[in-house]
Assembly symmetry: C2
């Protein structure tokens, strides 16, 4: 039942591990700035002035340092100021304000302390089916989040498992309120995940959203939650998804279900976040008509305008499920009359599980390069944190949290800039080199894992390691349909029609294999192995080349890290080195399995004569 008490400084090496004193974000800002300047050896005066109401701030250095801004703005401004001073960078001119009003982090923690898709230890919030946290650690956690502007947290798993469903009752709210009390000092507010069927568990005869008793039940839950946590943001719901109950269980629509919950929150200014991860998870793999990536758009797009104004649809970045490479979700372009939140995943479920390095900001850049940031009103990300001393298991995975904070603040992804900032803060002696390692990592990982946009070639359940047919004959709707001639699913207008869910230009690009981006080619198209790509290589040769290159680059990454010995704190250096060694082995395994798999189907040897898996049966000696 014990917590790992300490967390490291993360990217805040200039702040003391002891917790700051203060009873408001303003006082915390004063404390942090004072201690930070001391540690940086800067003897200037620093003045903090609260003006206005929000997260915005203005920094200036006119002999004295000045941070002016809203009540939380001064905290963000102070952290920003310190990071700029630490890096010797220039202060921004004018008022700085965040693009998204809520910059959220969704933990997937269970009350037994386990974390679903967690790769960095156990929960920071729960143990033994109780709310349980180390106060000091929560202070350090909140400081880390506030330092990059994250201002909203949901601690519990969207797959709500008992007794988490009763978190919004008097049994647990007093403890949750204590958590909220700490977070509030850092400008962070709480969301809580709720179970749609809670009324049933609580003894009601139904959880039908149109039932009067059910409505009253939820109004009471909202009332009690706000009584304990006055600045509570609202509920987060996963309904009618992957075995979870929802409006469908009662013959109701999603607007009927979501609006009912939203109306319970409305009197308190509360919001309802409603996840759109809805698809048939009991699909028959024999059925070639049903195509999972089409599901969310098909279900939700026709419902535009039917959701109340405090309902926010929370939509994953891609139409499938956080794969290494996916197109942007078409639903993000749709529903102009509905509020939407973009959901990213920091937890590296499909991107190396915090053993293999995968710097995600480049992936997000792909999203924002097509999707104007104002298409969504909110942003959230699934947490990659746990109670490991370094927070993220892989020390370098901290960069993803950092970059997410920046992305959520600015409403755009600038991978080079964020990587450099993080690396310079975390490893002042090796900032540029570490940033460069980060920036190369996603392309390397993608090369040795995902063949041109094919996803889910992973071991079932764990989602780690190669298993090309792992989900091929399952009910999860994730198929590559590889055979001896072709591979991929035709999702064009001639196939399942996914491309038709996109707006004009994007649709045209995805629909035509001649202009579809290479790395999404097999996501959208079913092609023969001999298909000649724009660069003249065949499809199969490109798969081989990518995988050999990826495995080689993984080795290079490890070698590059080794050159940093002495420039990185010894324990961090060794910890990361161990992960790179594992990654090198993983990469080799991925390369050989994927290439063997396609060689067995295609029978086409590598044009460069490299050995692919066991190409011959044994000769008896």
């Amino acid at each position: 039942m014990k917590h790992t008490p300490k967390g490291t400084h993360a990217w805040l090496p200039y702040l003391p591990l002891s917790i700051p004193q203060g009873r408001s974000p303003f006082e915390i800002a004063q404390s942090e700035l004072r201690e930070g300047l001391k540690a940086l050896g800067i003897s200037k005066e620093a003045k903090i002035e609260v003006l206005g109401t929000g997260d915005e701030y203005e920094l200036s250095d006119t002999g004295d340092l000045q941070v002016r801004g809203g009540p939380t703005g001064v905290l963000y401004g102070s952290y920003h100021l310190l990071s700029l001073l630490k890096r010797g960078a220039e202060l921004p001119k004018g008022v700085v304000r965040p693009f998204y009003p809520l910059r959220m982090l969704n933990h997937w923690d269970n009350m037994d302390g386990e974390i679903e898709r967690g790769y960095a230890g156990r929960s920071l919030f729960f143990r033994g089916n109780k709310v349980s946290f180390d106060r000091e650690r929560i202070h350090r956690y909140a400081r880390m989040l506030a330092s990059v502007g994250i201002n909203a947290v949901s601690p519990g798993n969207v797959n709500v498992k008992p007794p988490m469903d009763f978190l919004i009752t008097g049994k647990y709210l007093p403890e949750i309120a204590k958590l909220a009390d700490i977070l509030r000092l850092y400008g962070i507010r709480l969301l809580l995940t709720v179970e749609f069927n809670l009324p049933l568990a609580a003894g009601l005869a139904t959880a039908d959203p149109l039932d009067e008793n059910v409505m009253r039940f939820w109004r009471e839950r909202a009332e009690e939650t706000y009584r304990h946590i006055p600045d509570f943001i609202g509920f987060l719901v996963k309904a009618d998804s992957e075995h979870r109950a929802g409006p469908f269980s009662y013959g109701r629509t999603h607007p009927e279900g979501a609006n009912m919950l939203a109306q319970a929150l409305k009197p308190y200014g509360g919001k309802l976040f409603w996840r759109c991860f809805v698809y048939n998870h009991n699909q028959d793999w024999r059925d070639p008509e049903t195509d999972r990536p089409c599901a969310a758009f098909m279900h939700y797009a026709p419902l535009d305008g039917q959701f109340d104004d405090n309902v926010i649809l929370q939509i994953k970045n891609g139409p499938l499920d956080f794969q290494v490479r996916e197109p942007v979700s078409p639903l993000l372009f749709a529903m102009p009359g509905t509020k939407k939140a973009l959901e990213l995943q920091l937890a590296q479920e499909y991107t190396g599980q915090q053993v293999d390095l995968f710097y995600q900001a480049k992936q997000w850049q792909d999203v924002f390069s097509l999707l104007s940031a104002d298409r969504v009103q909110f942003i959230t990300a699934v947490s990659n944190l746990g109670d490991d001393p370094n927070w993220t298991g892989h020390d370098l995975a901290q960069a993803n949290l950092f970059a997410y904070g920046r992305t959520a603040w600015y409403g755009r992804s600038d991978p080079e800039q964020y990587a450099l900032e993080w690396a310079q803060l975390a490893f002042p002696c090796a900032g540029k080199e570490v940033a460069d390692i980060l920036l190369h990592s996603p392309d390397t990982y993608e090369k040795y894992v995902s063949p041109l946009g094919l996803g889910f070639m992973v071991n079932p359940n764990s989602h780690y390691g190669p298993s090309p047919d792992g989900y091929e004959y399952s009910s999860w709707g994730t198929y590559h349909r590889a055979d001896r001639e072709k591979v991929g699913v035709d999702r064009s207008a001639r196939g399942t029609g996914l491309t038709e869910q996109y707006p004009g230009e994007i649709r045209a690009m995805y629909d035509d294999p001649a202009i579809c981006p290479d790395k999404l080619l097999l996501f959208f198209h079913r092609l023969p192995y001999g298909h000649v790509m724009r660069d003249g290589r065949t499809l199969i040769q490109r798969i081989y080349d990518d995988h050999f290159e990826g495995a080689h680059e993984a080795k290079e990454l490890a070698l590059r890290w080794k050159t940093l010995k002495g420039l990185i704190p010894e324990d961090t250096f060794e910890r990361v080195l161990t992960r790179f060694d594992r990654q090198e082995k993983n990469a080799r395994e991925w390369c050989d399995v994927i290439n063997s798999f396609f060689f067995r189907f295609s029978g086409i040897p590598d044009a460069k004569g490299r050995k692919i898996g066991p190409s011959k049966p044994a000769a008896h000696p």
Copy 2:
């Protein structure tokens, strides 16, 4: 921590559920015979007379019924007599004696109550890391075993998990002795599984078998075990196998390790059973030279004559691992100067997990048709029992335990006879029909699962349901190497050489694809899909045909069961019907996945035009 208190009568419906009174097998026999005759409505006198020393008995009906035999023989004779009377069958002439002196059952129970590869509930012997059993249930269990002549039981898993390793210490022996006290009444003696590294766990510096302290340690363990259980049989060991420690851990040979343990048991007449399930479980799938089925023979055959005379090598029926179809293990023919035990598996790990019906005696018949029963001196089987009220989850799976008892007694498998006996005892109104269902079941299962001797096309870990590539890129050494041209591993003299481990005639048969039994064709040979088989069909067509037939037959089985409504006790009928329904779905899934898998590789359509999986990508409507 509670046990399910009751077990059903199994195939002994004429005995009361209340436990018999008696302080010896002789007195138990008297009680059982008295109660049994009463329930059968037979008013003849029955006389039991103890003569001689062993398990043998003689039955006669000269007006009075007579059972004459050894102290345990009279118990076996009494059960046999009752079963014959119940079935209206003739009494055997002359003295009946068992072929094997020890007819063993190996449970794979863990001390937390879970059963490894258990499909019928939880352990009968352990709960909450304690020895824990329901006395009445153990009486019924022992009676059931004794009624088919089983006389030795090892309750604990061969994968010994803490605290099971300390079972042979004073902490647990008093409780184990109480278990032995009950079993002894039914002629059943105990074996215990031991952990080779126990000396380390107990605080010694090493578990090296040649270390004096280690030898003394094991002598003390043997002494203490025999002090508590004077008729203890000995130890059962899984060493140097699948992550377990063994002599190799200390640079010693298996004779050195096994003989050391055997010598500790020797003063008490104890035996050491040493499993030969030794292979490289960290194999590189790219390596085409290493062939797991070759491993046991390669390791042990050269060691003939080096084991002490109270060491018994325990060898699985096949060289791989309890697959649906395997050749007999070549090691069973080797090592004339070494004692051997044949190990079967009643737990249906790879044969339907007691959801799908698989009557195993036909599989054993294949063993005994090639292997003269006297090649081995002992026989054992992995238990299919748990604390489910019906003992085996699937009621009809009881037939496997019954048939195993008979097989172990007679030293031969007579599937028809044993099926009929069991079915007539368990379901007097539908004996022949149920026996016929049993007898068809293994062929049906094999057809929809295993393509001509290919194994391990199952989901990893669970070993249930189809996953043709589930183990293909793993470290477990179980590969089919399917590609677009061929499938199978060449294990002939031209390949990995497994066939050369067999004696002359068998070798010739397995080595030549022209005379190799069809159902082992792909176990021993790598062949193109167009290979023409003896019946004129191509290999691929045979795979398709088998799978379609198997799925169809599974449906037929369920239909046949439905015709028995009214002839089978209602609750049993419904329980079994549910399993047949599940089997029908499983069979369909197996059929479609396996056929699709091979269609995708071969591109050869079914000659009969049947639909194979999703043969075309979707057309957009």
